[in-house]
């Protein structure tokens, strides 16, 4: 069965430190891949997406993610975290054989930022 795994439930980093959030997926082929962010009291916002081509993709707010086919991973990175990055981050893939808008989300990783 398809799945998206985010192994870290909660991560705390210091402001200015680098960040990597992990995402592994089980799909059976190369899927579209997404990272969404949810700030407190807000809806989910698309950070970045991978469809094909260059495996390093850039997103909004200085985030990037790298698709590694051999590891079935799509980890999210940011070189220097800002306090406003504190939020919950969700990795997602479309259901295989379904609509591309039918997304399977991971459980999310909550990011806290220390001053």
């Amino acid at each position: 069965a398809q799945s998206v795994t985010q192994p870290d439930i909660h991560i705390t980093v210091s402001e200015g430190a680098s960040l990597e959030l992990r995402c592994n997926y089980s799909y059976g082929a190369t899927p579209y891949l997404f990272w969404y962010v949810q700030s407190p009291g807000q809806g989910l916002q698309l950070l970045l997406k991978y469809f094909s081509g260059d495996t390093l993709v850039q997103g909004i707010k200085g985030f990037e993610a790298e698709f590694k086919r051999s590891q079935s991973s799509f980890n999210l990175r940011k070189p220097s975290v800002h306090w406003s990055d504190a939020a919950e981050y969700f990795c997602a893939v479309p259901v295989r054989g379904g609509s591309q808008g039918n997304l399977i989300f991971g459980k999310g990783t909550k990011l806290s930022v220390k001053p």
Binding site: G43, L44, L46, L103, F105, K107, G108
Partner: protein, 113 residues
Amino acid sequence: EPEVTQTPSHQVTQMGQEVILRCVPISNHLYFYWYRQILGQKVEFLVSFYNNEISEKSEIFDDQFSVERPDGSNFTLKIRSTKLEDSAMYFCASSVHNTGELFFGEGSRLTVL
């Protein structure tokens, strides 16, 4: 910047009552979705809607649920007879194309007592 708006932000209802959650998608978007997130659990797909009909629905979206686009701007989710387990945050989303690039509203929190 255009956004998806949802009302109400929070609704409390008694078990067995009907609830309608409303959404105004972004105006030039063609695909519409409802997702839900039960507290502490994953965000889950409920239904997608395109060209005035349901294009896909999940197992969660049983006969108690229905969706409608009554007037070309609103997109509603109706729960006919609410159960305790329907308590969740319900997110509306829309997209221009069917690519998974969704724009989400801020959600409607439903509490069923």
